[in-house]
């Protein structure tokens, strides 16, 4: 048994750390947040050059052939750096669906560009009524005479839709609103006629959009995998998405408890450092313990997923539950112990907390996963 990083893994971690040290001061980040795009194309290119965008792509299709452990390492560091580039949704989630379901032609068409940073994908799965249920799909795709499909419906909170070149869209090709059978995935180029993108900034400074499909015609090549049986792939994408998000959150929580511990040592009130108050010491110990719990659960779920994906779903539910709950606990206390300073946008604290809150509502919040875990 061994939880040490391998040499390649350590090199990966160091290189992400270095990138963040060089490119991600809070000032720089906040000016990216305010830009139209919401992240930096230069950074995106750099990530491609460093080989990170190919990490999870199999070697057979020109990738690095890494697994969830590699993306976990990267995401933890991305969390600490509050990285904005759409690695999570484009490479981890959409990239994986493409690798899982794409046929030869689809992979050849998209993967090289995905890996080189020339294109960016997103995954449109949620709908206004669906809340966190992946199978609750009303958006319809109907076959037309020429073998293509006509898509109608609205997808919600589609991450980075405005900057994506194409989106993978879950559509109902048969069955009723809540049925797992009858859901298909389509890879839809964004510039098709009838696609309306209403983009906005989310609380964490990233971008999302409501995407309306009005009689959007796609040809047969847009269908990913078989018609009507995409649910298991969606579920798997959700699972690896959760692992990546929870790694990011764990990195964030580590920074939060450490930053707060050092703030209370520097901040003096009542003629002594705040950290000398026992109440504060115990609170920090609680934050630290809960962080360690998340770290352990992250490792457990990630390793189980890598070794036996089909047997890992309980751990993944437990992980998302724990990370959502702990994220609020650590974030709330980080702010509390910073006092007024914690309420400003001037320190990382606020930005970390906003990201944690957003992570909680991606792919199901803590209540949702607790209920699944208990079921």
């Amino acid at each position: 048994m061994n939880f040490e990083l391998s040499e390649t893994q350590s090199i990966l971690k160091d290189s992400v750390e270095r990138f963040i040290g060089e490119s991600y001061s809070l000032d720089k980040r906040q000016s990216l947040v305010k830009s139209e795009l919401g992240f930096s194309q230069d950074n995106w290119k750099k990530m491609a050059e460093l080989g990170w965008l190919s990490i999870t792509v199999p070697e057979s299709t020109g990738g690095f052939g890494g697994n969830q452990i590699d993306s976990m390492i990267m995401m933890e560091e991305f969390g600490k750096g509050l990285v904005l580039e759409p690695f999570f949704i484009s490479s981890v989630v959409a990239g994986q669906i493409l690798c899982d379901l794409g046929n030869q032609a689809q992979k050849e068409n998209w993967l090289p560009r995905l890996v080189s940073g020339d294109c960016q994908l997103t995954f449109a799965y949620a709908e206004e009524q669906s809340r966190f249920d992946l199978e609750d799909v009303l958006t319809r795709a109907k076959p037309d005479e020429e073998g293509g499909f006509i898509i109608d419906g609205t997808k919600s909170m589609v991450l980075h839709a405005a900057s994506a070149d194409a989106m993978i869209v879950s559509c109902r090709t048969s069955g009723g609103q809540y049925e797992k059978n009858g859901i298909s995935l389509f890879l839809v180029p964004k510039d098709l006629q009838g696609i309306h993108i209403d983009s906005f900034e989310t609380v964490d400074g990233q971008r999302a959009a409501e995407v309306r499909f009005e009689s959007v015609r796609v040809d047969m090549n847009a269908l990913l995998g078989g018609e009507g049986n995409a649910f298991s792939t969606i579920k798997r994408a959700q699972q690896s998405g959760i692992l990546a998000l929870c790694a990011e959150a764990t990195g964030i929580m580590e920074s939060l408890y450490k930053d707060t511990a050092s703030y209370t040592q520097d901040r003096e009130q009542f003629d002594r450092p705040m950290s000398e108050f026992q109440v504060i010491q115990h609170r920090l110990v609680d934050m630290f313990m809960e962080y360690e719990q998340c770290k352990s659960m992250l490792l457990r779920a990630t390793l189980e997923f890598v070794h036996n994906p089909d047997g890992s779903s309980r751990s993944i539910h437990a992980l998302k539950y724990l990370v959502g709950k702990t994220g609020k606990f650590i974030g709330e206390n980080a702010i509390q112990l910073h006092g007024g300073m914690g309420m400003t946008e001037e320190l990382n604290i606020a930005h970390y907390f906003k990201r944690l809150l957003t992570i909680d509502i991606l792919f199901g919040n803590s209540d949702y996963h607790l209920e699944k875990f208990a079921a």
Binding site: F132, F200, V203, D204, Q269, I335, Q336, G339, G340, D367
Partner: protein, 386 residues
């Protein structure tokens, strides 16, 4: 022990209800005009525009039960917005420690909502340890004015304020608490620089205020030099009792239930999902208890006693409950709770979920951080420290 309202109290309640419904804002009419007029009409009822002011200063002289009824009814009805700084924070200080001239000069404008005040207490190095404040006020040789220099921070609404009530340092030697002077400073003048601080809910309400060589006439000093701490402490007690917000939380709980009830899940709603429903139930049970904690504290005051131990936990419990309400509202909003200021996605309550929750984190920081409040309870109520 008896919780029933008396016949007089019931008829008072009916009168308040009638007043509030007759004077509610009519959609489409000018808000500001209605607002200022509302206070005039309330004044004509005999001090209903300043319910907390003592009778001697024009207040209605209500019993604690009447105050409770007023709180309950006004948190349900539409009443005009109001700010606490002049009305509930400075006014009691003026009444208790100000001179007749100062009372005549400042109270009428406060009452008519014509002048906005801000509270200049906290400084970068004087937060929880407020007595550590350093903003210096030096009395001129001829004794006509103070020269004030320093920096205040977290000053709520300083950017719209006409005046600041400000704690300044007039003596560096001896106990920190004994060298503090309470000054009233006009904001719209040279030497006062207000810089916005954006808080994490995304809004601008607090500021940094730099004060440079500002001359403040001695007539603007409340009470005696070096005695300001005592005046301010009395005022903090007023600030705290206003922060529990129990009646408002009861109303907020109702709307949370409606909002969550509007989120459809299968054949039911979010209110039928066990984890969410139980969290709402837990909150409601706590709120029912704290409502009675408040009643006990009011009854105590009504019989003319000093505030009992129960009153010291009202700010702590009250703010904690407000935060839990915000948190559940955010959770009810689901995927839309992170839609920052967007005007047309998802249900409208959901969009502001996260920003409301984030702003609510300040409730346990201002007006005395919860940890500091607990110190006070440990010391004064439980007698755990000397």
């Amino acid at each position: 022990m008896d919780i029933n309202l008396t016949q007089e109290e019931l008829s008072f309640q009916a009168e308040v209800k009638e007043f509030l419904s007759e004077n509610a804002h009519k959609p489409g009419t000018d808000y500001n005009e209605w607002r200022l007029n509302w206070f005039k009409v309330a004044a004509s009822k005999g001090g209903w525009d300043v319910p907390k002011w003592p009778e001697a200063f024009g207040g209605p002289g209500w019993s604690p039960t009447q105050h409770y009824i007023w709180e309950q009814e006004t948190s349900r009805a539409q009443t005009p917005w109001d700010l606490p700084f002049g009305l509930s924070m400075l006014a009691p200080v003026l009444m208790n420690y100000g001179s007749k001239e100062q009372q005549n000069r400042f109270l009428p404008d406060i009452r008519d909502r014509l002048v906005n005040w801000c509270q200049g207490y906290s400084e970068p190095n004087a937060g929880s340890d407020l007595a550590n404040l350093k903003t210096k006020a030096a009395l001129s040789e001829d004794g006509t004015h103070y020269l004030v220099n320093g920096t205040k921070v977290w000053t709520t609404l300083a950017h719209i304020a006409d005046w600041m009530f400000c704690l300044t340092r007039t003596n560096d030697t001896g106990k920190k608490q004994e060298g503090i002077t309470f000054l009233l400073i006009p904001m719209k003048q040279e030497g006062i620089e207000v810089k916005p601080i954006i808080t994490l809910g995304g809004s601008h309400s607090v500021n940094m205020v730099h004060i440079t060589d500002v001359k403040v006439p001695v007539e603007n000093r409340i009470g005696e030099e070096n005695k300001g701490w005592g005046y301010a402490k009395g005022l903090l007690a007023h600030e705290r009792t206003g922060l529990a917000g129990i009646s408002r939380s009861i109303v907020a709980l109702e709307s949370l239930k409606n909002q969550a009830g509007s989120v459809k899940r299968g054949n039911g709603s979010l209110m039928d999902e066990p984890t969410f429903k139980l969290k709402v139930a837990e909150l409601e049970a706590d709120l029912m208890a704290v409502e009675y904690t408040e009643l006990r504290s009011l009854a105590n005051a009504a019989s003319g006693n000093e505030p009992g131990p129960e009153s010291s936990i009202l700010k702590l419990k009250g703010t904690e409950i407000q935060q839990r309400l915000q948190r559940l509202t955010m959770e009810a909003g689901g995927i839309y709770s992170s839609a920052w200021g967007m005007s047309n996605v998802g249900p409208s309550f959901a969009r502001s979920g996260m920003s409301g929750y984030l702003s609510s984190r300040a409730f346990t920081i201002y007006g005395g951080a919860s940890e500091v409040q607990k110190d006070v309870v440990a010391k004064n109520v439980l007698g755990l420290k000397k």
